[in-house]
Amino acid sequence: MKQANRKMNREDAEAPSETYMLRLFVAGEESNSKQARENLMKICEAHLKGKYKIEIVDVLNNFEAALESNILLTPAVVVVSASPPVTIFGNLSDTEKVLTALGLAGGES
């Protein structure tokens, strides 16, 4: 609780009222895609509550969208709101890495 508060404070200081725009590319219900979806929801709920928007693109229905974003592998999540946009590949099971990519890694370590 204390930790979360501190993070929030830090984010508030650096980027006030920032909304994270995330675009997740998945391949239907394939296992890694499913995991990526669940993991992303969990991480966002835990760390970005109320400050994120996720758009899910299923490449099996719409592969042009993936090509437009230069996404060649799924699952992949693009942080559209970052500049430049950051892409994370894989099923997002490594929470620490996802947080780093989102610029949310704590300064504890």
Binding site: F25, V26, A27, E30, S31, N32, S33, A36, V59, L60, F63, A66, L67, I71, L72, L73, T74, P75, P84, T87, I88, F89, G90, N91, S93
Partner: protein, 408 residues
């Protein structure tokens, strides 16, 4: 912006992205590759898991075998071994991998001179060999070539089974059979000797009782003469008994020369010999169909027919005129002869028993009951068999077979 020459920063970002892509692939966290036209699903883990599962299943199956299963490369180095192969040298299968088979199992530094695997490499075929190890155990080794997709031999699989016990059992059985045959021969020669030796005293018994009758007949009382008759009758009975016994014991020793004999002629001769007797009882004698030529001991086969026909005469029914039929049917590799009558027949319970020596089923009938035992023995010596089909009071059919081809 990016259509121009990429900046150092952009290149670095691209490289980082590529690295992340490769890392995700390595972690098998990728589901699909997006191409220009379509999306290809990658089911890496599934394929790998299926492979691991089937590998595991095969290992479990091969580990349950008591045979040693070893897969070697063409240089005789173990690539894979099952549990039994490992246990044979007190090691885990993995500990055998990479070592030469001759070093593991034969403590040699060079390949064995005689080796089925070497043969398989030479012949490109499955090979089988039996070897005896210095500890006296016997093994059967089968080797199989393993080929790649191009048909090149890449290794040799072998399945090895210890057959020491099986071999020993086989040898024991052979030994037992040989012993049994020897015992049988001994017994036959014993029977022959004994019956031959019994003949001597019997001859004097017969001679002296004849002399007694001739020379001292008048001095004997009525009762004395009766006793003498009984003695002579029993001497005669015993003589027949010993003659039959002698005959039976001879079959094993005296197998006459085999020759081509025409059974039609043989049967006709017997019929002529018995003509008077046949006429006496008003019997009809029928030869049904042609009778073949066989390769056999003429005198013995004559005995077979004579005995069977004689039997029909002996066991005729009082209720109807006797009819005897002799015939033959060709079967797979055999001629099946039959002698059929319409006599008194035989109850089922005696069908087996009656071929044993001295089984006189009808105490009133003449003879000692050696006839069928003789028939059986002669036929068996010629490689055939005998049996009877009969219903009581309805006649009997005696069958025997003889091979169509002379034995090699």
């Amino acid at each position: 912006m990016s259509s121009k020459k990429p900046t150092y920063q952009e290149l670095k970002a691209k490289l980082a992205e590529a690295e992340k892509t490769i890392a995700a692939l390595r972690r098998e966290e990728v589901d699909a590759v997006v191409g220009n036209q379509h999306v290809a699903l990658l089911r890496l883990r599934e394929a790998e898991e299926a492979l691991i599962k089937s590998e595991h299943e095969k290992t479990v199956i091969l580990d349950t075998m008591s045979e040693h299963v070893v897969y070697r490369d063409t240089k005789m180095r173990v690539l894979w071994a099952n549990k039994a192969a490992g246990e044979s040298v007190g090691l885990a299968p993995e500990q055998l991998v990479g070592r030469h088979c001759y070093e593991i199992w034969h403590q040699r530094s060079k390949a064995c001179v005689v080796c089925p695997a070497k043969e398989t490499l030479k012949t490109s075929q499955e090979e089988e060999m039996e070897i005896t190890t210095p500890d006296g155990r016997i093994w059967r080794i089968r080797t199989y070539p393993i080929r790649d997709a191009n048909g090149e031999i890449v290794g040799i699989a072998n399945v090895t089974l210890e057959i020491t016990e099986r071999k020993r059992d086989e040898q024991e059985r052979e030994q037992l059979l040989a012993d049994l045959e020897l015992k049988n021969r001994e017994l036959e020669s014993f029977t022959y000797t004994v019956s031959h030796d019994l003949k001597g005293p019997l001859v004097s018994l017969s001679g002296f009782s004849s002399a007694l009758q001739k020379e001292l007949h008048d001095q004997l009382s009525e009762q004395g003469r009766h006793y003498l008759e009984r003695i002579q009758a029993n001497v005669g009975y015993m003589d027949t008994l010993i003659t039959d016994l002698l005959e039976l014991s001879r079959i094993g020793q005296v197998v006459g020369p085999r020759e081509e004999i025409d059974t039609a002629v043989l049967v006709r001769d017997i019929q002529e010999e018995l003509a008077v007797k046949l006429e006496q009882v008003g019997a009809e004698f029928v030869v049904k169909g042609p009778l073949p030529a066989v390769h056999a001991d003429r005198e013995r086969i004559r005995q077979v027919f004579a005995n069977l026909i004689d039997n029909s005469l002996k066991f005729r029914s009082e209720d109807r005129p006797l009819r005897i039929e002799v015939g033959c049917q060709k079967q797979e590799g055999f001629y099946r002869f039959h002698v059929t009558d319409n006599g008194i027949g035989i109850t089922h319970q005696y069908h087996e028993k009656m071929f044993a020596p001295f089984q006189q089923l009808d105490p009133k009938a003449e003879g000692m009951g050696i006839g069928l035992a003789l028939v059986k023995k002669i036929v068996e010596h010629h490689g055939g068999r005998t049996w009877v089909e009969s219903k009581e009071a309805q006649g009997a059919s005696f069958y025997f077979t003889l091979p169509t081809e002379p034995p090699r």
